[in-house]
């Protein structure tokens, strides 16, 4: 026992004597910096930049691991002697996980750079709600959209019911897809399974709401029927399955999509209430003018597409 201890002491001493210059660099942390940079932090200060040249690095997006991103230059960071900054010649897609690997004479290291989880969720939420608004830039749920947007009250009721059902079905479909369809490789059945699931969910909500809160049921019950056969309700589970979201992402994506739909309905209802007293050419009365108004809204919502988040 004693011999082992002394051997270990000698070994430790020998390592220390080798000095910091020879010690291997250990990667500690990585984060996005600016629009096209990644900052990598080491446990020890960086002294020799020539051993960390661009050619020693390889940075890829996790979704396409064969394409190395064009790294331009590696430089030190003034505020932090332990860190270097990798500059790329293109903007980084921060929604993606970036895998950074270093293979230099000073050591090897690998780290995944991701955005802060809250930032990802908020981005997903806002992008589903306004930037890619389901009605104005993805054109889903138009039947219901034009059907119930004549009055403000019905528009609000429908919007909220839809949000509720979409969020529930989003989470449920995530569970069904990840735990049943994917392990059994039954992906081709997703359309059948999801539509059945939504129908059951709506029926269940109908029954529960009728028992628990009859007043709310009286207000919202009418819209529940509309929901089963609606593209926006089915599209959310399909997209969640398609993009392989996790639970949190599914929840915020579905919630954003639902609230975006409610927002669109409310805006449209406000305009259509005024349209009833406007003088519209005979051939444009009814739906045609509603489409033109919707086009104008879509034009306005295009302004959000320039919005860059985090």
């Amino acid at each position: 026992m004693k011999k082992i201890m002394s051997a270990l002491t000698v070994l430790t001493l020998a390592l220390c004597c080798a000095g910091p210059a020879g010690a291997a660099l250990t990667v500690k942390d990585g984060s996005f910096a600016g629009t096209h940079g990644i900052e990598v932090e080491f446990l020890t200060p960086v002294t020799d930049l020539e051993n960390l040249e661009a050619s020693f690095w390889r940075v890829v997006e996790a979704s396409s691991p064969d394409i190395a991103l064009p790294l331009e230059k590696v430089e030190t960071v003034a505020a932090n002697p332990n860190a270097v900054r990798l500059n790329f010649s293109q903007n980084l897609d921060k929604g993606q996980i970036h895998q950074v690997s270093l293979d230099s004479p000073r050591g090897k290291g690998k780290i995944d750079v991701t955005q802060n989880m809250m930032a990802i969720l908020l981005t997903l939420f806002l992008s589903a709600a306004v930037i890619n608004n389901y009605v104005f830039s993805r054109y889903l749920g138009l039947c219901v959209f034009f059907g119930v947007s004549q009055h403000r009250d019905t528009a609000v009721g429908t919007g909220l019911t839809f949000t509720m059902v979409m969020t529930c079905s989003g989470i449920l479909s995530w569970a069904v897809f990840q735990f049943i369809l994917k392990p059994l490789s039954l992906g081709f059945l997703q359309v059948l399974v999801f539509i059945g699931m939504v129908a059951c969910l709506v029926q269940a909500l109908d029954t529960i709401l009728r028992k628990i809160n009859p007043v709310l049921f009286k207000k919202l019950g009418v819209y529940l029927v509309l929901i089963t056969v609606n593209c926006i309700i089915l599209a959310v589970p399909l997209m969640i399955a398609d993009r392989n979201f996790n639970l949190g992402e599914s929840f915020f994506f579905a919630l954003g999509a639902g609230l975006g739909f409610a927002l669109a309905l409310y805006l449209m209802a406000n305009v259509r209430e005024r349209l009833t007293v406007a003088r519209v050419p005979a051939s444009f009365q009814g739906l045609p003018i509603a489409f033109i108004v919707c086009g104008l809204f879509a034009l306005a919502f295009m302004g959000f597409s320039g919005l860059s988040l985090f």
């Binding site: 054109y139 309700i233 034009l299």
Partner: protein, 205 residues
């Protein structure tokens, strides 16, 4: 009603896109050019005809209280079929419209024709009603596609016609809504001159 009349009715007087205003989502979404409109149109014709035939054959066995669920499952079966066929044989084209092909399940036009027509009529008229409505839908999609492709990218079927792009907005989301609004009003004017009034909701029974 004669076969010919059933088809003409679906194409003009009760055109699903411009007159009945059913299933508008794909009508805006995939119609940035004629080709996409044609592809989705083909899928809809297939699903509509096959679902109509199935509903008509089974009409004596389907209990009215569970009919909506059964219709949905019939449609979902045929949609899964065409979805798999298209992804196998036309992978490139399929990529552009894949989400909307899956969403044919919830196209209002299909279930409403099954409910209003195929559930009460024998197989042959149901087949031609489905064919008429499907072709009407395809015609609507292709017309919107033609206007948007010509004005938005100056092309027709991928061939350069105008040499310039007069109205870029037409291939943006907003353009789809504008084109449908204007085409609907044109349809209203023409059919009014021909003496055809507005059809009942969901089309004739």
């Amino acid at each position: 009603m004669p076969v010919f009349q059933l088809i003409i009715r679906g194409l003009l007087a009760e055109n699903p896109v411009f007159r009945l205003a059913l299933s508008m989502c794909p009508a805006v979404a995939v119609t940035t050019n004629i080709k996409n409109g044609f592809l989705l149109g083909c899928a809809v014709v297939f699903v509509q005809v096959m679902s109509n035939i199935t509903a008509s054959v089974l009409r004596k066995f389907i209990h009215p209280r569970v009919r909506v669920v059964i219709y949905t499952i019939i449609i979902a079966t045929w949609v899964s079929t065409i979805d798999m066929i298209m992804s196998a044989y036309l992978p490139d084209l399929y990529d552009q419209v894949s989400l909307y092909i899956k969403l044919i399940v919830v196209f209002a036009i299909i279930i409403s024709r099954m409910e209003l027509f195929a559930s009460k009529n024998p197989v042959t008229p149901s087949l031609f009603d489905g064919l008429g409505m499907g072709l009407g839908f395809m015609f609507g999609l292709m017309m919107i596609g033609a206007v948007r492709e010509l004005l938005g990218s100056g092309q027709l079927l991928g061939f350069d016609i105008l040499g310039v792009k007069p109205l870029l907005i037409m291939i943006l989301p907003a353009g789809g809504f504008f084109v449908i609004g204007f085409l609907m009003s044109v349809f209203n004017i023409i059919l009014k001159k021909l003496g055809m009034g507005a059809p009942p909701a969901g089309g004739h029974h």
